[in-house]
């Protein structure tokens, strides 16, 4: 792809700045995208990825799996429905900011509690608008997800050479254990159930049904909606830190163990978590993993993982259930994947992506252990894969 922006001679001189630019996105190769700043006035550095969902931006920004990442929204208008206190996946977002095509407008939705820009400020997230996000997306598609610096400077002063250095110096997600940063540090009980629409008095997060099973969830950066889905099916959920030992987990005598999603390089996190997960598998208890949890499970089973060219991020990804032949439209957010051909005997591939054929789900033959790469809890995204939670619960019956 011809990229005029990257041809600035030697990236030495700071490029001219358009009038009124209050934010810049500087990629590690020196490319600068100018725009208008929004959200918090600060600078962040991370991997620049894109997400193709057209709804659910607040859930996306609060998904802990985006730790270390600056998110480009391919859909131009973001912020339309404002922000509210319900559509959040974690208390403190770990994503690093957002890149938008269009300026935000005031929200218009009966669920909106505040302007999305206010919310971004309140959670200290910077953003930039006015960027040709399609160009950026094509660049990520063709060249892989680059590292970059997002700088929101209301005074319009940018030290571009310094920012370029900062972008180039960032080590990248590979080898980075981010789960440790976003995981809870102490175990806690989660009892919130799923959302339901209805008349005024019944709309909202529903009361938990009677408890039938006890589940311990290893928190690598869990999205709340996973926990809510477990509660909705009668699970008492205890969330434990990523570095919890298998013995501690098993001491809680759970009926099943859940391996949560999360950010970063599974191999790095696996360094301490994999031995524990092996013991959990050996315990014979049902184990269910999602996203990073799926990758960790695979590592524990002996497979390898690798960084993807640009990852899967969006709400329209088709996944085929190889056991039924059915296609699910799934919500996805991952930049690492199980390496083809590295799964040992006795582990069956149950799901594959119809976009690129990559491995999307596995199960262990003869053991109540399975996992998926995508997000059956959705939030945001389609709920086609909710059946997986039921499958987990059924294993605990």
């Amino acid at each position: 792809m011809a990229d005029a922006l990257a041809t600035d001679p030697g990236h030495k001189a700071a490029p001219a700045k358009p009038d009124g630019a209050t934010a810049a996105l500087i990629l590690s190769d020196g490319t600068v995208f100018w725009g208008r700043g929004l959200g918090a006035a600060r600078t962040t550095v991370g991997e620049v990825c894109f997400n193709t969902s057209m709804t659910g931006y607040q859930e996306i920004m609060t998904d802990p799996s985006y730790a270390g990442q600056i998110i480009t929204f391919t859909f131009p208008h973001i912020g339309n429905v404002g922000a509210n206190s319900n559509d959040v996946e974690t208390a403190t977002p770990h994503s690093l900011g957002l890149v938008l095509r269009a300026d935000m407008t005031d929200p218009s939705n009966h669920r909106a509690e505040r302007h999305f820009d206010d919310w971004l400020k309140s959670v200290n997230l910077p953003g930039i608008s006015g960027v040709d996000t399609r160009r950026l997306t094509r660049r990520i598609r063709d060249g892989g997800a680059p590292n970059g610096v997002l700088c929101h400077a209301p005074d319009g002063n940018f030290d571009i050479p310094a920012l370029r250095k900062q972008a180039a110096a960032w080590p990248g997600l590979e080898g980075m254990d981010l789960a440790a940063k976003v995981s809870c540090t102490q175990s806690y009980a989660w009892d919130g159930s799923t959302w339901a629409f209805g008349a005024d008095d019944t709309e909202g997060y529903q009361p938990a049904p009677a408890v039938r099973h006890r589940v311990v969830a290893m928190d690598f950066g869990a999205k709340r909606n996973i926990l809510r889905n477990l509660v909705a099916l009668g699970c008492e959920v205890t969330v434990v830190p990523a570095n919890n030992a298998a013995e501690e987990i098993l001491a809680r005598d759970p009926d099943g163990i859940f391996l949560a999603n999360g950010p970063g390089d599974p191999a790095a996190t696996g360094a301490y978590a994999v031995p524990e997960i092996r013991k959990l598998i050996d315990s014979g208890k049902p184990v269910f993993g999602i996203c990073l949890g799926h990758q960790m499970l695979s590592l524990a089973l002996g497979a390898r993982t690798e960084k993807m060219h640009m990852g899967h991020r969006g709400g329209n990804h088709p996944v085929k259930d190889l056991t039924t032949g059915k296609v699910e439209i799934t919500s996805q957010n991952h930049g690492f994947v199980i390496s083809e051909g590295t799964l040992p005997d006795g582990v069956e591939i149950t799901h594959r992506s119809l976009f690129d054929g990559s491995i999307e789900g596995i199960r262990v033959t003869g053991k109540p252990v399975f996992s998926v790469q995508y997000h059956p809890e959705a939030s945001p995204g389609p709920k086609d894969s909710h059946y997986l939670f039921q499958r987990f619960v059924d294993l605990m019956e």
Binding site: N84, G315, K326, I329
Partner: protein, 1084 residues
């Protein structure tokens, strides 16, 4: 699952003529379905009475029946063809209703024909309001409170439950015909009564009003493995209460949280499962309360629809094609996404732009019709636009309408005497559901109303209002400061979607000045691709739209990637309207096909989402853009960066592209075929007369005037009646036959509005003349008469509204020879390269020239279907430089007869007179084809919805001039056993001729009168000719009653004669059904 091998032949039912609510989107879907099934090796049988469709091109199906789409005709086709399956979901409500009738009466079972795509039960469940409601209750989806009633008393009971305002929806009517919103008890009773009558099952649904709620549509596709995908979510800017076909809509949905969106997605899929749509596409409509978010389901269509055509064009996902393949057994994951070529069809498209669809109305064509929008659809066409933001998309949509808008143009809103906003008046104006409401919204902002005030009055979601307010604010700044002098400032304005023309208006300059200032600053659009996936995968299909991008410092990224080939651009016709519809799209599509075959790269430019021309595989490259000089020239400039642009075809898309010819020429862009100057010559009365004098051809006496006084002098000289019209119009807009000086004066005050600065033309009117249409091909040295059509109605009725016969039925050989001679002279005189249409009037065997159009005409597809000669394709290649001699042209008239009949939208416009005149009113056409005229005409009448009686009572009332002629006709009807009924004068004539006739009163003579007779069901056929304003006014209620009660009605003696012939043919027995392929030796 792979495709089914237990079936080998499939019949597809088309949608028939273009009517309001069923336009060329069903040609688009039907064409895709035919291609998809043929590609799979099935024998495809098609029935569609509309000759202007691409789907009825003989090459698209194995057997193409241009026959009436009625259960009995289709049953005969089934008997003859014995197909294994019927696909009823591609032809709109017409196809669905026909299939339903054939399933219910046992025909399908008897003949072993399986319904695929939707079964009987599913269709009934979706279409029957009560069954639908029950099904929704079962899956826990809330509907508006409602009850189904079948009489007035039940309606009153229902009203108590739902309250006013109440929505009334008749069961089983197309696009909500006969439905409405009642705000008071009187309206309520009126609409209910009308609805009960129009409903074929005589039931209406009385429903809780969700007026002002947000309206959404979901386009869903399901396969037989129960994989369900949402192709597109469409949000209506116009809130509930306005038919979605009449609403401005956007895609994707813009004001939903993910939780709300997923609820709607889940609900849509649940609906398909419950209704039992096993394979194919459906449309599900919802209303959402803006205050509480309460979601109710409105309806679903278990078939492809106008919205699915829109969704296909908006996302690049070909719903109809995929639906056809799913119907024969494939699952979504077995089918490819054509746009990326690397991903399967089993995914949900995601887009990175905003699509706006805007309806096009023609209320001005129907004096007396109230320009108010309701739940019954009134628009005749639509444009779609694509922009990176809503503002850009909206402003592109506005200029795509071709109603003269260049953006959010100013409109009048009530102000008080001091020129200050009358807030109450402005708010009242905003609350009215009218076609130009968004312009009123903009005007209200100019007058200082707030978003909250506008929202309260209009119920348009504030999100959209704020963008409109922002556009208005930007306009105010431009007015105050003038155009920006820097690149960045200019770029920011263009990103807002402002056209050069609008900027020119705002700054008091001309468009060229703004355009050159803009280009001097280096501000030009880039082209982005529609790729179904928001750039996640590379797009291999060049389907593009323009946008302004970048920061003003660096070159923005353009994805057009023009090739190094020799290319030809074809400019389409824009939104459908009366006078410019599917016929022109047919021509453009044929040009694309022909020029691709000839080795050129074809590039289509159009903004009509309903059409075949905007299908991504019709041409090599597709630009979905407004047809304005600015938008077209910019994309040509990009195409010129690589390869050569051999030229542009502007003569195939109707008036729309022709209007751009001058601007293109000025820009140095070559125009293929007949020169724009020759086209102008034919339109310019003075220049044209000089040519005629040179060629020695005769016209009715005529003159050109620019004032009312002049008009009176000229009309007196020529002698009344005269035909009067503004120059440069299509479809006879504002054309009238004027009988006296009073009418002339009234006309002149209106014509000036209609024609702007252009002069008004006055022609002597030839009473009782026969009108003839001729389509001709010419290559600059040689010409070829492609078809001569004799009108059945006499001269004076717009040619688009007249029935006509090919070959002519009554013209002597000498007259035909003379017509051929004159046509050839004109082709030569105008140096026509391509197509030319000539209209003649023949009076007493003398030939008068009425009009010449050296471009594609409305009759081109009809001539092509009737003669089997692909004249649009030949013309396109001739325009590209090939001589006529290189084509195989038929030398003789066909041995069969084809009759074209027009179809009218009067039923949609209560209170409008259905009388025909020189201004075109029809929306579409049908063709009847058979061995002789009588049978062909009979078929044309049946196909256009006229139920010719074979017995019963004929009412006859004719003007004095027609009385001698009517006797023979009345005698023949009497012999056939018809009872005759007539008003005094006509009755006397018939009695004197020795015929038995009953007398009835005229409407003004007291009761019971003829309308009472009709209302009581005692009249089966009406023959009524009138003359003079008074007589026409007097017979208004008669025509209206005939229309609303579907009583065949003939307003000319010639039409009546043809009808009698047709009745004779019907009485002789079944009309034969024969595929086009049998009539035509050649293939297209």
């Amino acid at each position: 699952m792979p495709k089914r091998t237990d079936i080998s032949s499939i019949i597809i039912i088309g949608a028939g003529p273009i009517v309001i609510g069923q336009a060329c989107e069903f040609d688009y879907s039907g064409t895709q379905a035919c291609k998809a099934l043929k590609e799979e090796g099935y024998r495809v049988i098609l029935v569609n009475s509309n000759p202007a469709t691409i789907m009825t091109d003989p090459g698209l199906a194995d057997a193409t029946y241009v026959e009436p789409i009625t259960p009995s005709t289709v049953a005969r086709i089934l008997e003859k063809e014995r197909p294994d399956a019927m696909l009823p979901t591609m032809g709109g409500q017409t196809a669905l209703n026909t299939a339903l009738a054939l399933a219910k009466d046992g025909t399908l079972e008897r003949l072993g024909v399986e319904l695929i795509g939707a079964n009987l039960e599913a269709i009934e469940k979706a279409e029957d309001r009560l069954l639908f409601r029950q099904a929704m209750d079962k899956i826990g989806l809330e509907s508006p409170r409602s009850s189904l009633v079948s009489n007035d008393e039940e309606a009153q009971e229902a009203l108590k439950a739902v309250g006013l305002p109440a929505i009334i929806r008749p069961s089983f009517t197309l696009a909500g015909t006969g439905g409405g919103i009642a705000y008071n008890i009187q309206e309520f009773e009126e609409i209910v009564r009308n609805g009960l009558r129009l409903s074929p099952v005589h039931t209406v649904l009385i429903e809780e009003s969700v007026l002002g709620w947000k309206e959404f549509e979901m386009e869903v596709v399901r396969d037989n493995a129960d994989n369900c995908i949402i192709i597109c979510a469409i949000e209506n800017i116009d809130p509930m209460g306005i038919h979605t076909g009449d609403s401005v809509t956007v895609a994707p949905a813009l004001t939903l949280t993910d939780k709300e969106y997923q609820r709607m997605r889940d609900a849509s899929i649940a609906v398909l499962r419950e209704i039992g749509v096993d394979t194919g596409g459906s449309n599900v409509q919802f209303a959402v309360s803006p205050e509480t978010g309460r979601l109710v389901i409105i309806e679903m269509n278990p078939r492809v629809s106008r919205s699915s055509a829109l969704a296909s064009k908006a996302t690049g996902f070909p719903i109809a094609k995929i639906a056809a393949k799913l119907a024969v057994g494939y699952t979504l994951d077995e089918l490819d996404n054509d746009i990326t070529g690397v991903t399967p069809a089993s995914f949900e498209p995601t887009i990175d732009y905003v699509v706006t669809k805007m309806p096009r109305f023609t209320f001005e064509k129907f004096p007396g019709a109230e320009a108010k929008l309701t739940t019954s659809m009134k628009s005749v066409g639509e444009a779609m636009s694509i922009g990176r933001t809503f503002a850009e998309s909206l402003q592109k949509a506005l200029r795509s309408m071709e109603t003269g808008l260049t953006g959010l143009d100013e409109v009048e809103l009530p102000v008080d005497a001091d020129g200050v906003v009358d807030r109450a008046g402005a708010i009242a104006a905003l609350s009215e559901p009218v076609p130009d409401r968004l312009l009123r919204v903009a005007q209200a902002f100019r007058l200082g109303l707030t978003v909250e005030e506008v929202y309260d009055a209009s119920s348009i979601d504030p999100w959209f209002l704020r963008h409109i307010a922002a556009i208005v604010a930007a306009e105010e700044k431009i007015r105050a400061d003038g155009l920006p002098k820097d690149r960045q400032g200019m770029l920011e304005l263009k990103k807002f979607g402002f056209s050069d023309m609008r900027l020119a208006t705002l700054t008091g300059q001309d468009e060229a000045t703004v355009a050159s200032a803009r280009r001097a600053l280096g501000v030009t659009p880039v082209y982005k691709r529609i790729d179904t996936c928001a750039a996640e995968f590379p797009a291999k299909t060049p389907y593009m739209y323009s946008a302004y991008e970048g920061d003003g410092l660096n070159e923005p990224e353009c994805e057009s990637e023009p090739t190094d080939r020799e290319k030809i651009l074809i400019l389409g016709g824009g939104p459908n309207r009366i006078g410019q519809g599917i016929e022109f799209d047919y021509c453009c599509v044929h040009a694309a096909y022909a020029l691709s075959e000839a080795g050129y790269e074809t590039i289509m430019v159009n903004c009509n989402p309903e059409t075949v021309s905007t299908d991504y595989d019709t041409s090599d490259r597709l630009y979905f853009e407004p047809l304005t000089a600015e938008d077209v020239i910019e994309l040509v400039r990009v195409e010129q960066r690589n390869g050569t642009v051999k030229g542009v075809i502007v003569q195939f898309g109707g008036q729309t592209p022709l209007k751009l010819a001058n601007a293109l020429e000025v820009a140095g862009i070559p125009i293929l075929g007949t020169s724009p100057d020759a086209i102008d010559l034919a339109e310019d009365r003075e220049r044209f007369q000089k040519l005629l004098n040179k060629l020695g051809l005769k016209q009715p006496d005529n003159g050109i005037v620019t004032s009312s006084d002049q008009a009176e002098v000229e009309a007196a000289r020529i002698g009344y009646p005269v035909v009067i019209r503004p120059s440069y119009v299509l479809g006879g807009r504002a054309m009238e036959i004027v009988h006296d000086v009073t009418s002339l004066r009234r006309y002149m005050t209106q014509a000036v509005i209609a024609s702007g600065k252009n002069p008004v033309l006055i022609d002597g009117f030839l009473s009782h003349a026969v009108e003839v249409d001729v389509d001709c091909l010419a290559d600059g040295t040689r010409s070829h008469i492609a078809g001569i059509m004799e009108h059945i109605e006499e001269a004076g009725i717009h040619s688009g509204d007249s029935a006509c016969s090919l070959p002519p039925q009554s013209l002597p050989e000498a007259v035909i020879k003379e017509i051929r001679r004159q046509t050839a002279l004109l082709a030569d005189g105008l140096s026509v390269k391509g197509l030319m249409n000539v209209q003649f009037a023949v009076k007493d065997d003398e030939v008068f020239l009425l009009e010449v159009n050296p471009r594609a005409s409305r009759t081109v597809p009809f001539v092509a279907k009737a003669t089997g000669s692909p004249i649009a394709k030949i013309a396109a290649r001739v325009m590209a430089g090939e001589p006529l001699s290189s084509f195989d042209l038929p030398t003789r008239d066909p041995a069969h007869v084809a009759v074209k009949e027009a179809v009218f939208p009067f039923a949609r416009f209560p209170g409008v007179d259905s009388i025909l005149g020189p201004e075109m009113k029809s929306t579409g056409e049908v063709m009847g084809i058979d061995k002789d005229f009588a049978a062909a005409f009979a078929k044309s009448q049946i196909a256009s919805g006229t139920n010719l009686p074979s017995s019963g009572t004929v009412f006859i009332s004719v003007r004095d001039g027609d009385k001698p002629e009517i006797i023979a006709l009345a005698r023949e009807l009497s012999k056939m056993g018809f009872l005759l009924l007539a008003t005094s004068g006509t009755a006397l004539t018939l009695k004197e001729a020795g015929l038995r006739v009953d007398r009835t009163k005229k409407v003004l003579e007291g009761r019971p009168h003829i309308v009472d007779n009709m209302l009581s069901g005692h009249v089966d056929l009406v023959i009524n000719t009138t003359e003079g304003a008074q007589a026409i006014a007097d017979s208004f209620s008669l025509r209206r009653t005939a229309l609303t009660h579907n009583i065949p009605y003939y307003t000319t003696v010639e039409g009546a004669k043809a009808a009698v012939k047709a009745i004779n043919a019907i009485r002789k027995g079944h009309l034969e059904v024969t595929p086009l392929q049998t009539y035509l030796s050649g293939s297209f």
